[in-house]
């Protein structure tokens, strides 16, 4: 459990973890806290925060409870963040692993492919993809995954390239293990830590991307997300600042928490402690 010790010695990481757990709990408990869902028009529109009992953060343009929206929005932001990151990993890890492991033409091909995706400005590509597929939770998640896998592929490739020259991998070759088996059971498990660090940061980026798409009106209209709330409130930002302020803060906190955790993980995985000799 030295890993946990190292992680928890990073104050920021612990704060991040607590924040994230809180967000996750809120997301999980959303149906319990606000069983009516976030769309119900429950009060007069534009209630100012902290003025009405039961509506601590006020109401929006249609008289919907902002708190309910935030609570339910947490589900979507986390879901999109997690699923798109998983999908990006599913594309990036195998591609990067094969490229790094086999080298040569496989590598050349895979890297051309990756570069190709990195050459298209990613947000523009996401916009086009969502516009083509029409904005639904699925298409948004897919679009985010499609634009965010290239860094994963590059990272995994670099890791695998360095790992495959390690002596224990060569030993596995000499033991007559198959390439696939070596890649899966010898190489990849040792590349897990940087992938986890990157994944935690990608979840954060995905949440930002989702909210940016929503801001441009490319969100799923059937799902309450934080990005949607800001996008919907930006036209009234002057008269009802809280409508875009609180979701913005929610995004900020969640993204911040994920970044803090990512840094904590990074530090915990790579203890720079023992470097000097004699």
């Amino acid at each position: 459990m030295t890993f946990w010790k190292r992680f928890s010695s990073n104050r920021g990481a612990v704060i991040g973890l607590i924040l994230l757990i809180a967000v996750i709990l809120i997301a999980l408990l959303a149906p319990v806290i606000y069983p009516g869902g976030p769309w119900k028009m429950v009060q007069r529109p534009f209630l100012v925060p902290f003025t009405t009992d039961g509506f601590p953060l006020g109401t929006d343009t249609l008289g919907r409870d902002v708190t309910a929206g935030l609570v339910h929005g947490a589900r979507v932001s986390l879901l999109v963040g997690l699923v798109s990151t998983l999908m990006a990993l599913l594309i990036g890890v195998p591609l990067g692993a094969l490229a790094g492991f086999y080298g040569g033409y496989v590598d050349e091909g895979a890297m051309r492919f990756t570069e190709f995706f990195q050459t298209i400005p990613n947000f523009a590509l996401a916009i086009v993809l969502v516009a083509i597929l029409q904005p639904t939770l699925g298409s948004i998640t897919l679009a985010i995954a499609i634009v965010s896998w290239p860094p994963v592929a590059r990272l995994v490739r670099a890791e695998v390239m360095s790992l495959k020259r390690r002596e224990f991998v060569e030993a596995a070759h000499l033991a007559g293990l198959s390439n696939m088996r070596i890649l899966v059971s010898e190489v990849l498990p040792n590349a897990v830590s940087p992938i986890i660090v990157m994944a935690s940061l990608m979840v954060a980026t995905a949440i930002l991307l989702e909210s940016s798409l929503s801001f441009l009106g490319l969100g799923d209209p059937n799902i309450m997300s934080w990005g949607y709330m800001i996008g919907a409130a930006r036209t009234v930002i002057r008269s009802a600042w809280w409508l875009s302020f609180f979701p913005g803060v929610a995004i900020l906190i969640t993204v911040l928490a994920l970044n803090l955790i990512g840094e904590g993980l990074n530090d915990a995985f790579n203890p720079h402690l023992r470097k000097g000799r004699t």
């Binding site: 769309w39 249609l62 516009a131 209209p221 919907a232």
Partner: protein, 515 residues
């Protein structure tokens, strides 16, 4: 209520106006949203194009806010008893912006050649026209095949803009190079267009009306974000926010500012009428009881008050109360969820989900769809909002791939021009989002629509339209929502901005700035 007061004030100002001498000079900055694709009004007639090109081009007539014809390029006109001959006397001494004289030949070319090829909406009116002739340089005669009541409303600038014959005759209209530098007879000339930023018009010094226009120059400013447009008005960067250029929620805040005026006049000719197409062909929406239930389920007053900030009127049927031949003798659908539930029970609605296709024109429409979804869910209808962009919306409605679709259409002052196209069977045709998209079929009513259009007697037309409205409202072919209003917000120093039924779209020849 604040808004009403300002209007009254405006009217008072308008009455007092003769006492004040109009001042010449100055520059006006107006928001145009979105950026128009082109300024050639003969080829493109969408809102932004007309807003700008309305200063450059003119037609034979204008219409006051009671929809009565007023002189424009025609100084006088005459309609024969039988309603078949329309004779126009043109203004004298009118020249195109390039100095060529404007003559009756230009009118014949515009209506009979150019617009007949390029202008789909005018084409359907021109179907009633037999010949267009120019007996002399200042006289034009339109001869109709049958009487066509609304024909007198077809001379608005967006419907029949005058195109210079000497520049276009014999060319490929769509690819004529002159399209980039439009030439009209209007009070302002095209100067430059910084794409993505602004369009600059300057005063036409040779305008045929003495002393007009008053303004030296107009900048139409392209500002893509609604909030930024509001900021632009607040900081004084722009003087005029035409209807719809800021979100409704910003309107009260802006109008409360010092020296800010607003008016909802200037939309009488268009009288934008909003409804949801209900797909009459299939699914729950093909059942008239379901459609009635939808009418009862919706809280349209709430939407008017909250989403539209109090602007607009709840629609009673297919014809706008601002349009000629409106009748209120119809079934009134109040917000009555119980009645809606009863109707759904009666039809045996099985919870089959329906999709709502909102109009992709900004937050207001999005909120509206959300409010309707909420209303419908409350009476037990399963609803999902289909998301889309402009192109997708066009595609889905034109291909009838929807259950309920928001839209709004202009009435053009007469049910025969703006209303009937959405309800007669002849107008059921895939590929266009501007016809009978819902697929409503009622052969009996089709006859009445036709008879009303081709009658020369106003009384007879009123009679027929009353019957049509009474009957169609019970069928609920579409779910009528609101007669929407787009208040024009402007700096109070800008005077006489809105003087006709198409408001700022109609050339700012009368507008002036109080120094």
């Amino acid at each position: 209520m604040k808004f009403l007061k300002t209007t009254t004030f405006l009217i008072a100002a308008g009455l007092a106006q003769p006492l004040i001498a109009q001042e010449a000079g100055g520059r006006l900055d107006i928001v145009v949203q979105p950026e128009p694709p082109s300024l050639m009004l003969g080829l493109v007639q969408n809102g932004p194009t007309q807003l700008v090109a309305g200063d450059i081009y003119e037609s034979l007539l204008r219409y006051n806010t009671d929809l009565e014809p007023q002189p424009s390029l025609a100084k006088s006109w005459e309609v024969s008893e039988d309603g078949l001959t329309y004779t126009f006397q043109l203004q004298e001494g009118v020249t195109w912006h390039d100095g060529e004289p404007f003559t009756a030949e230009d009118v014949v070319f515009s209506a009979d050649v150019f617009l007949r090829e390029t202008h789909a909406r005018l084409r359907s009116s021109l179907a009633y026209v037999d010949t267009i002739e120019a007996p002399d340089d200042t006289t034009v005669v339109f001869t109709l095949k049958t009487p066509f009541g609304p024909f007198i409303n077809a001379f608005e600038v967006g419907t029949m803009p005058m195109i210079p014959k000497h520049l276009y005759e014999g060319t490929d209209f769509a690819n004529n190079e002159m399209n980039a530098t439009p030439i009209g007879t209007g009070p302002f000339k095209f100067e430059s267009w910084e794409k993505g930023s602004f369009i600059h018009l300057v005063k036409n010094e040779d305008y045929y009306l003495e002393n007009k226009p008053y303004l030296d120059e107009i900048y139409y400013r392209v500002i893509p974000d609604a909030a930024s447009r509001a900021v632009a008005f607040e900081t004084g960067e722009v003087d005029v926010l035409p209807g719809g250029s800021v979100e409704n929620w910003d309107v009260p805040r802006l109008t409360e500012m010092d020296n800010t005026c607003s008016t909802s006049k200037g939309w009488e000719f268009f009288a934008p009428h909003a409804w949801m197409w209900l797909n009459n062909r299939e699914g729950p929406t093909s059942d008239v009881r379901f459609r009635q239930a939808v009418m009862y389920a919706m809280d349209r007053d709430f939407v008017r008050d909250v989403v539209w900030n109090g602007f607009g009127t709840v629609a009673t049927g297919p014809v706008s109360s601002k349009t000629n031949f409106y009748s209120d003798d119809v079934t009134i659908y109040d917000h009555d969820p119980d009645k809606a539930r009863a109707l759904l029970d009666e039809m045996g609605y099985d919870g089959e989900p329906v999709r709502i296709l909102p109009l992709p024109y900004g937050e207001t429409w999005q909120r509206w769809a959300e409010a309707v979804r909420q209303n419908l869910q409350e009476v037990g209808i399963e609803v999902e909002i289909d998301s889309t962009d402009v192109a997708g919306w066009n595609e889905k409605t034109a291909q009838w791939d929807y259950d309920m679709a928001f839209t709004y259409l202009y009435q053009y002052g007469d049910p025969a021009l703006g209303t009937s196209r959405n309800y007669v069977e002849a107008q059921i045709e895939k590929g266009s989002p501007w016809n009978n998209v819902e697929g409503y079929r009622n052969p009996e009513l089709d006859l009445k629509w036709e008879a009303a259009a081709t009658s020369a007697s106003a009384e007879e037309r009123q009679e027929l339209y009353n019957e049509i409205q009474k009957e169609i409202v019970d069928d609920v072919p579409v779910a009528w929502l609101l007669e929407i209003e787009f208040p024009t917000i402007h700096n109070c120093n800008v005077q006489d901005l809105v003087t006709t039924a198409i408001g700022v779209n109609d050339g700012l020849r009368d507008a002036w700035i109080k120094q």
